[in-house]
Symmetry: C4
Subunit: 237 residues, 4 copies
Amino acid sequence: MLEELKKKVWQANLQLPAHHLVTFTWGNVSALDRETGYFVIKPSGVPYDELKPEDMVVVDLDGNKVEGDLNPSSDTPTHAVLYSRFPELGGIVHTHSTFATSWAQSGRDIPCYGTTHADYIYGPIPCVRNLTKEEIDEAYEKNTGVLIADYFKESGRDVMAVPGALCKNHGVFTWGKDADDAVYNAVVFEEVAKMAYVTEQINPRVTPAPQELQDKHYYRKHGANAYYGQEGHRDGK
Amino acid sequence: MLEELKKKVWQANLQLPAHHLVTFTWGNVSALDRETGYFVIKPSGVPYDELKPEDMVVVDLDGNKVEGDLNPSSDTPTHAVLYSRFPELGGIVHTHSTFATSWAQSGRDIPCYGTTHADYIYGPIPCVRNLTKEEIDEAYEKNTGVLIADYFKESGRDVMAVPGALCKNHGVFTWGKDADDAVYNAVVFEEVAKMAYVTEQINPRVTPAPQELQDKHYYRKHGANAYYGQEGHRDGK
Amino acid sequence: MLEELKKKVWQANLQLPAHHLVTFTWGNVSALDRETGYFVIKPSGVPYDELKPEDMVVVDLDGNKVEGDLNPSSDTPTHAVLYSRFPELGGIVHTHSTFATSWAQSGRDIPCYGTTHADYIYGPIPCVRNLTKEEIDEAYEKNTGVLIADYFKESGRDVMAVPGALCKNHGVFTWGKDADDAVYNAVVFEEVAKMAYVTEQINPRVTPAPQELQDKHYYRKHGANAYYGQEGHRDGK
Amino acid sequence: MLEELKKKVWQANLQLPAHHLVTFTWGNVSALDRETGYFVIKPSGVPYDELKPEDMVVVDLDGNKVEGDLNPSSDTPTHAVLYSRFPELGGIVHTHSTFATSWAQSGRDIPCYGTTHADYIYGPIPCVRNLTKEEIDEAYEKNTGVLIADYFKESGRDVMAVPGALCKNHGVFTWGKDADDAVYNAVVFEEVAKMAYVTEQINPRVTPAPQELQDKHYYRKHGANAYYGQEGHRDGK
C-alpha cells in the first residue's frame, strides 16, 4: 500500500546524507497520506545506503504499525503526535545535524539575525525544554511531540511559519507541506544555525534583524503578496 | 537576443554552487551588455541544476524585463541601480555565502587582516546599514542598490578597488568587469571573511595589516606598476 | 594466517580516511582473534591508498610480531595492553581526528551535552593525564595502554559503555566488539567532540544533559530493554 | 632542461588544490636541482587546472629566469633566498591555507599543543614580523626570504626540524627535502593550525604539551633512534 508515497519518503530520506545532515542512521523522514490518515516513515536503525522503498513502514496516527516488515523509527510516536495535532503538516524530518543540534544542546532559541532566516522562518527558532523524568518514563517519544505541539499552541505561533523546533539536549525536528518541503527546511535550519553561531562569535553584542526587514523578506516569499519565484511556485522554494 | 551573454551568465551562475557559495537558489549573477545597455540575469527561484541558458532574463537599466519567459531575480532592481550608478561594472553577484553573510549579520565591516584580502580589495569590506522602514516599504530592492551606491559616492572609495559590499542582516554583493570577475570576487570575499573570523578568535586584540603591506600587495596586482601574473593578465586573476 | 581477519582489518583501516578521521597515515585499526589470542594491526607508516590485506601484521598480546613482512603500528603495545586488560574488546582504533584531538589537546573530558553522545557513550568521554617522563622513557606506548586501563579500573566505568578515551596532548583511542564497531565509535567521538565544542561557544554556561535523558537514550539502544533498531541489531548501530 | 624535475614540481603544485590548501592561484611549489643549482617553480598567476609540466620555469639562485616562456611566481625571490641560505632545502611551498594564514594574520606563533605537531615540527611554528616600509620598498619578496632566514640563524633553530614559518599578515612557507616533502609539511601545518585554534577555544588557559612528550614523538620519527615506519622510510612520512 501507498507505494508512491513510500518511494517519495525513501527519496527524501536519502536527501538527508546528501545534504550532510546525518551521520550513519541518525535521522528520519516521514510523510502523511491524507486520504487514509496513515503516514509512511523510515525503519529504525537501517543504514541509508541499504534502504529500499519497500522497507518504509506504514503507521497510523496513534503510532501503530499498519504495514511493513521492519520496526518503524523509534521516533515514530513524535511524528504521530505532530501529524495529529497539526493537520497542515504533510512531512516531518528529524536529524542531529551538527550546528542546529549544537544550539539544541546549548538550550537556546536561534535568534533571527538575517534574511536567510527570515526568508523561511518567521521569528526565532524555538528550543523546547527538557522533558521531566516523569514525562520521559511515561512515554518519551510521544511526550516529545506533545511538548512541541503545546509550545505552538501556547505561544500562538503558526507551525507553517515556524517550520520546526529544537529539543533541548537532543536534536531538531522540521516539517512542511510534504517530505521534500520538510527536508528543505532541515537544510535551512542547519545553515541558519551555523551562521547564527558564527555571527555571535564575530559580534557578541549582536541583536536580531529589524522586524521590518524580517517582515519584508518573509512576506516577499509567503502569502498573498509574495513576488519571489515563478507563478505557481510562490513559497520561495 | 544576447545569446552569447546569456550563456556566460548561465555558466557564471553555475559557478556559485560549484564554489559552495549558495544553498538551493540563494544567489544570482548578472552581466551587462554595454552596447544595448541591457543586462542579463538569473530567473527568480529556479534551482541551479534546472537552469538553462535560454532561461536567463534580459532587463533594462530601469529594471524592466525586455525579454524572457520567466520572472527575473527578485534582486534585479538592486543590480539595475548598481549598473546605472557605476558604468565600470560589467557583472554583479549576490549570495548568502556562510562567512561573509555572518559578518553582514554581525553588522561589522571586515578589516583587512592580511595580504589575501589586500591582493584583491583595497581597504576594509564595508557593511552598509539597514534600510529604514520607509525605504523598505517604498522600494526594498531598489533602495538596497541606492544605499550601496551612496556609500561609495559619499566615502569616495572606488568600486573597482572595493569590489563588493555587505548589507547588514542580509548578505553580500560583489561585482567586477564581467560575470566571471564578479564570481571570482564572491569567492575572495567568502574566504577573506572566514579567515578574518578565525583570526579574531585566535587573537581578539588583532589589528589590521600595516598600510604599506596592504599597498604593496594591492599594487603588485593592480594598476600601472603591477607585476603579478603574465603579460595581458595583469589584474591578478 | 588469519586471512579473513586481515581483510576485515584492512577494510576497517580504509574506513578511517573515508570518514575523514585521518590525514596521511595518522591512525590505525586492529582486531582480535579470540581463538589464537593474536590480533591483526595496520603496519606502521604505510599510506592508506597503498595498503593491501596481506600487509596487515599479526601480533600476540605481549606486542610481539607473530607474522608479517612489515613493522606493526608503533602504537601496537597500546593495543596489546588494552586487549589484555579488557577481554571484551574485539577491535581498537587510534586516530588524531580534528575535534576529538583538540579536546585531548585541551586536556578536558568531553561532557555529555546531548543525546547524540548519550546514544553511544554513558557519561563523559574521559581525557587521561600525561604520562610522566619516567613512564615515557620506560615504555611510552605500553604505558599509554596501562594509563587508559587503570583509569577504567579505578573509576569503575565499563569499557563497553564508554568505548574510548582521549590521551592528553595526543589523540583518541576508541574500541568495540570488533574492528567495524571501533571505527563506528571513532566517528561518533569526532562528531560528539565537534558538537560539544560548538555548544560551549554558543552557550559558555551550558551544563550537561539531565541524567534521566542520558539514561533514556543510552538504554533505548543498549541492554535488555533496548528497543531501537531491528531484532538482532540491538546495539543501536 | 630539467624535464623530470619540472614534472615533479608540476605534480606537487597540483597537490595543493587536492589537499584544499589553495583557492585559485594562491600558492606555489618549487624544487631545487642540486647539480645545476637551479630551481623549478610554478609560473605566476596560472590556474592549477591549466598548468602543464612544460609551463614550469627554471630559475637560478639569484632569482633570474634561466628558462621558460612564462614569468615565474612573484614569490620567486623568497624561494631563491631560502635555497641560498639553507642548502639542505630541496623543495619549498607557499600557500594562504585558511587556518595557518589565520594564525599568520593574528601575528602569533603556533604553540605545540600535541603530538600531531610534535611528530613533524620541533617546537612552536614561528610567525616572523612584518617587513618595514623600507624593506618592502627595497625588495619585498627577497626581504621576506631574508627575514625568515635571519629568524632561523638568530634563534639557532634547525630548518629541517622546523620545516616552515608564518609571515605576519601574509601566509605560510613550508619546506622539506624535496617538493613532495614540502607539500606534506604544508598539509601538516594547516591541520596543526586548525587544531591549535580549536584547542584554545575549548580551553583558553591551555598550555603547550610537556617537553618530554614533544621529544618522545619527534624523536620516534626523526634521527638515529627513530622507530616509526618501515626500514628506509624513517622520516615518519
